[in-house]
């Protein structure tokens, strides 16, 4: 009888557990998928990604204008920490004017593809491109190797982490200026590059990719999470129906629109509030003419051909998931005019918006999605997602309130200014 009473007691407890489970309303799965921002994903293609020495070196290099040919431009020139790591201009402007907006690098370590057209598949591969872009830093990898070799602080910092540099004093093997120039094989840099032996080209590429990996190690620290929205979702999950008071009533209405009638999660899904992929959202061009930027169509071709991609010789995981992703990637005309879905976290300071800075502020962005005024047409792409949302003024304000609730906690000031050197002691 004692046993029966004991089991009956367990039964009551078990039923109580069930009642508790039944009383807990499951959270809307679409909402639960937006938060929290998970820990920064590892990058197996970069074995230095989590190395504290590489983070220190990358931090130092990021702010060092010696990475540009005329020593005038650093990564931080365009990716200004005071402007959410953008430059605040519609089109990137350094040594020349580019064709697209400088994207933020906040939280960029959560990306699947890099650049607006996804022509790089890792943060380290991305970091190598602007250095050699004539419109950005104007450098070439041989000139950079010679500079690192010649300048003691750079050489010592590089060699302390990556080991010996190539035999750059042998000028007959390592010319002063050289780089691959796929779209202009007659360029003097391209001719000099082609004249080098395959082994020497590989040693320079190894050096150059190492610098990219150090820069990526630093950039992966630029994470802003734990926004009021995240705290709201955490509170809801803990059973607080009010969400801890972390969102205003207006922002809550905006969230409801975002998940519901706005269908924003069709593209802005997942914890970065981006599907990390590419779409043609028909944003008007700056001059009102038909769009001419091929976007993802060209980006897909470029990333598959990139020797620095995840499947390449310089990847530290050339048989892994990143390699499979780039190997399987389609180059499809459907991608013409598509651009990467930007994360909606940390929008403040990133104006103007869209891939060519077509919209001056978030109000203009919302007005476009409300009316599709000036939509550039579907062009080659037949995706059929957009409908005018016909937002009232109050609804626009609510959506804006929600978007502004996605601001993460500020970065540690340590990461937002230049360190005095690669051995800066305050680094963790």
């Amino acid at each position: 009888m004692r046993t029966t009473r004991g089991i009956a007691g367990l039964l009551v407890i078990g039923a109580g557990v069930l009642l508790l489970v039944d009383r807990t309303e499951p959270m809307n799965p679409a909402l639960a998928r937006l938060s929290p921002l998970p820990p920064t994903p590892s990058d197996p293609t970069n074995r230095w990604a989590d190395d504290a020495r590489a983070i220190r070196l990358g931090h130092w290099l990021f702010f060092d204008p010696r990475l540009s040919l005329d020593r005038s431009v650093s990564c931080a020139t365009c990716h200004d920490p005071a402007l959410a790591f953008t430059d605040g201009k519609p089109l990137a402007q350094t040594l020349g004017v580019g064709t697209r907006k400088t994207p933020t690098i906040l939280n960029t370590a959560h990306s699947r593809w890099f650049f607006w057209d996804g022509r790089a598949d890792s943060l380290w591969a991305q970091a190598t491109e602007p250095i050699e872009n004539p419109l950005e830093m104007g450098m070439n990898r041989l000139a950079l190797a010679h500079r690192v070799y010649a300048e003691t602080d750079l050489r010592e910092a590089y060699q302390a982490l990556f080991g010996s540099l190539p035999e750059l004093h042998l000028r007959n093997r390592f010319p002063a200026h050289a780089r691959p120039v796929p779209d202009d094989p007659e360029h003097s840099d391209a001719v000099a590059w082609k004249r080098m032996s395959e082994q020497d080209r590989e040693s320079i590429n190894r050096f150059y990719s190492n610098l990219g990996k150090a820069l990526a190690a630093y950039e992966s620290k630029l994470i802003r999470a734990d926004s009021p929205f995240d705290r709201y979702v955490t509170s809801l999950a803990a059973g607080d129906a009010e969400g801890g008071g972390h969102l205003s009533d207006s922002a809550k209405r905006g969230l409801e629109l975002f998940l519901g009638r706005g269908s924003c999660t069709t593209c802005h899904s997942g914890p970065t509030l981006s599907d990390l992929e590419f779409h043609n959202n028909q944003v008007p061009t700056a001059d009102g003419r038909p769009p001419t930027d091929p976007g993802r169509f060209e980006g897909a071709r470029l990333v598959k051909a990139d020797p620095f991609n995840g499947a390449g010789t310089f990847s530290d995981d050339s048989q892994g998931a990143a390699a499979a992703r780039v190997r399987r990637l389609k180059v499809d005309s459907v991608g013409w005019g598509e651009f990467k879905t930007p994360s909606l976290r940390n929008l403040t300071g990133r104006a103007p918006y869209f891939h060519a800075g077509q919209m001056a502020d978030l109000e203009s962005v919302l007005h476009f999605y409300s009316t599709l005024e000036g939509a550039s047409g579907q062009s080659h792409h037949q995706e059929n997602v957009l409908r005018p949302l016909d937002l009232s003024a109050e609804e626009s304000a609510d959506l804006l309130g929600f978007l502004l609730s996605l601001e993460g906690q500020p970065l540690d000031p340590l990461w937002t200014s230049a360190p005095p050197g690669p051995g800066f002691r305050r680094h963790p």
Partner: protein, 139 residues
């Protein structure tokens, strides 16, 4: 142990199982369809359930000449997913390998947007290509 005690123990055990399995999605049974021209029968089972949004997953396909027919081996098989409402497909190619006895391994499916998708299985034997298709819902 008395009959009453055994019954109570069974109820408690059932309750505990119910509690512990809450939230777990059992793997679905393979879905089966016939090709549109009726020339082959296809069953497929994804590697995960529910089907994930915007994450890569794999699947197994079984192809035969009918519901209880002969396994189809050595055929040229291609697999793709399309999203009819958006008029686009997946962003990556799928890898299909023949594992013998009518079983094919499908690697690299990725449905990057929520909504209805259609999985196409195209089977080519000689000069004839036939299609079977499955409806998928990604939430």
């Amino acid at each position: 142990m008395s009959g009453c005690t055994r019954n109570l123990a069974w109820v408690v055990a059932s309750l505990l199982v119910a509690c512990s399995s809450e939230g777990l999605d059992p793997m679905p049974e393979p879905q089966a369809v016939s090709s549109q021209a009726g020339g082959f029968h296809a069953r497929w089972q994804p590697s995960v359930a529910p089907l994930p949004l915007n994450e890569s997953f794999d699947a197994t396909l079984w192809l035969s000449t009918g519901a209880n027919g002969v396994p189809i081996e050595g055929a040229q098989v291609s697999v793709d997913c399309r999203m009819p409402a958006h008029r686009h497909g997946m962003l990556q190619e799928v890898e299909v390998s023949d594992e013998g006895h009518g079983r094919y391994r499908v690697l690299g499916l990725l449905c990057h947007m929520p909504g209805r998708w259609v999985l196409h299985v195209d089977l080519t034997r000689g000069a004839i290509t036939e299609r079977a298709q499955f409806d998928l819902v990604i939430e």
